[in-house]
Amino acid sequence: MNGTLKRAAVACLLMFGLLMANVTYLGTIKADSLRHDNRNVRSFFARYAIDRGWITAENGKVTLAKTVDTGDPTFRFEREYPLGKAFAPVVGFFAPESATGIEGTENDYLDGSHPDLVVRRAIDLLTNKPAKGATVDLTLNVDAQQAAYRALASTGKRGAVVAIDPRTGAILTMVSVPTYDPNPLAVVDKGKVNAAYNKLAKDSNRPLINRAIDETYAPGSTFKTITSAAFLSEDGSRDENTVVDAPDELPLPQTSVVLRNAGGESCGGRSTLIAALTISCNTAFGKIGIDLGYDKLKAQAEKFGVGKKLSIPLSVHASDIGADLGPAALAQTAIGQRSNQMTPLQMAMVAAGIANKGVVMQPYLVNKIMGPDGSEITATDPEEFTDAVSPEVASELTKMMVNVVRSGTGTAAQIPGITVAGKTGTAETSPGKPSHAWFISFAPADNPKVAVAVFVESGSAGTDASGGTIAAPIARDVMQAVLK
């Protein structure tokens, strides 16, 4: 019987061999797909097993997002946003199955999975502590952010405010209104989160988008700063006093349409460049645009960053001056109309570039990353983004923009004791529809510390909205908050 017993033993060996091979297959090759199968709720639990890093501002002094230890073994750590709505478009929210804003883009630091944190994580694993993520500190100026949010939201308008430190590119303010409370979107209950999210997603005011970077809008007359920059850069002998054509009506070539000024006003036939910008003369800049040609205008816009992909680290929708559709279209492009579309961030970068002697700094939101023990892991070094104009041209543009605030369309942005430079914009969206109101500015003009772009969306500001009346006071409040 020993022969058959031995064969039975081989059969048993074979069975164990098969089991071991199969278990090995499941535990190695198949493990990843099993682990990440969306029906496997463990990845969902894992999100809440990590002591997620905080999101702070002003070098850790102000908490924008924090993690609370509930003690519940299944969903141990929950996320809270103490300052809520005003910061939601930037900070985002940490939902059961997704994360947006900084919560999303900096997720690998926040949850500790970033390679920089691998040693720390290994120590946590060995000492059996819950994994702890790194703290992300943002560049936001909390007072300015709240001032901007209040100024925009209290009036029930839709729009966005972006403030940049022109010297570094650090984003001091990024507000989008209407916004949402991130707290109900960060609870553990998927059903509740989905209900709250769907309600927001269906809202016709679209509170979930960040108007500062997610969408582009016609910049209106604020674009005349770029047109001016191209005009001044084209010929070194030009300055703010160069006289340009400023007819009452500018016939658009190859069409029967004429370009007029706002309200049918006259610019006096001929005018200095500074005077044309101060009263925002459309015909003058339309003519300049046609004379410059599409390529030069586009090149100048690109020097301010238009059309470049940006990650701040939130991804920014690319701005675009539109396609070359002939001189008639170009005249409109030169005054910020037609298919000329900019994000509020892009226009803030234009103001910041002029303020910083022609150099546009790379805009950024993350100041530094701090390890769970408070030590610095990385910090953002300011970097030049583009060279927009020469320092001389920047200085001419500054003089012109100071004049706009001193005696032109932007007087509402004046701050006592501080010289403010600015440019208004009132962009027609479509015939019969109310306009977008814009204002870009920086201050103090002689030593700029803040550059701001304010955008108030069409229809929300009333039918007679203009950049000077609606947007300029908001910019003033934000600059005051930064400079105080």
């Binding site: 019987m1 033993a9 071991m20 499941l26 535990g27 029906r39 073994p73």
Partner: protein
Amino acid sequence: MSAADGAPVPMTAKRRGAQLAMLGFAVLIVMGAYASVGLGLDGKIPSGTLTYGLGLGAVMLAAYLVLAKFAPWADPLLLPLVTLVNGLGLVMIYRLEQADMKGANATSQLMWTALGVVMFSATLIVLKDQRTLQRLTYTAGFVGVVLLVLPLLPFIGTEINGSRIWINVGFSIQPGEFAKLALVVFFAGYLVTKRDVLALAGRRLLFIDLPRARDLGPVLITWALSIAVLVGEKDLGTSLLLFGTFIAMLYIATQRTSWVLIGILLFVGGAILAGQIFSHVEARFDGWLHAESDELYNRELGGSYQLMQGLFSLGSGGILGTGLGQGHPNIIPFAFSDFIFDAVGEELGLTGLMAILMVYALIVQRGLRTALAARDPFSKLLAGGVSFILAWQVFIIVGGVTRLIPLTGLVTPFMSAGGSALLANWILIAVLVRMSDGARRPPPQAIQDEGLTQVMQR
């Protein structure tokens, strides 16, 4: 058979000291695992670690003492190995109980373990020689069949979770687990006496010598019994277990490959037929083949939800596992019984599962060694059958929960929660220990060397 005639028989060592050391080691591993559960769950060593550990240690020490007294020559590895898997099962059930899983009860499992050791000891004390079992061949067969059909009787038989394998006599027991034991004894006794007849060749077909038609009787009866279990109790696992073991023992006894082929054909045919008539067999097969499809995953009854949850658990554990107390094995329905293997896989990983499979393989290997070394055909066949049924059961259930083969409900020996299975398996191990004692005990030695004819001198 074992030692060549003539040469002096080498003395087998008792290795009792090694056995005690390994038993202590097994208990230590279990205590460590138990402490690790507490550390993983709330950072503290559970207060019961020492009492649990000492409790398990005391129970196993008692088993050891009985073994040392009544089966001193027994295989030194069997008891420590069984202690290890039993202990790890306990720890896992404790861990699931801590996660508030309904039905997981570590205290009751520990009590059943203690009772299992009592049965183990009693078997060793009462059963002085396994050959006495041969006299009970037909009694065992009768008892086995009765136990098997008991759940089908009205009033005492109860259906739980779709299988009618329980009887309720104040508390629930699974008579099928004991039937397994009785039937292996019966198969061994029956086949030993009939093996010469069954081995007779009949007609030759292709390359296979078919047995004579009249000898098919016992095979057909066992087959019918298996199919009856399959159909009546909806217990595919036990049905497969019994028939497979019978065929394996038939092969060991008769050396006829044809029996294996006939057996496989009969069972597959029967199962296919049953599958067409009874939906639960087909559902099991579907749930295996298309387990990952959403349709089967979401099916209310007989879907693949449980199997997939088990696989998710195993996959999430990966190579090293999450560590005891740090995974979520309690998500798998019945993680403490049928799916305990996957639950262990999540927290101890592939590494832990390989270790556990290795322990099972070693138990089986020690059993088969006993069979090889046994001195009489009945003991050989019984030890072979007992070893095979253990390996076969591990293969069916572990293969089922790891989707190697269709899932059939069976307990993982010594690990799954369940009193009946624990008791039956401890008795089974006692029988194996008894046989290994017999096999390793040195044969009576002649007083003198009688190599040459003794010449008496006046």
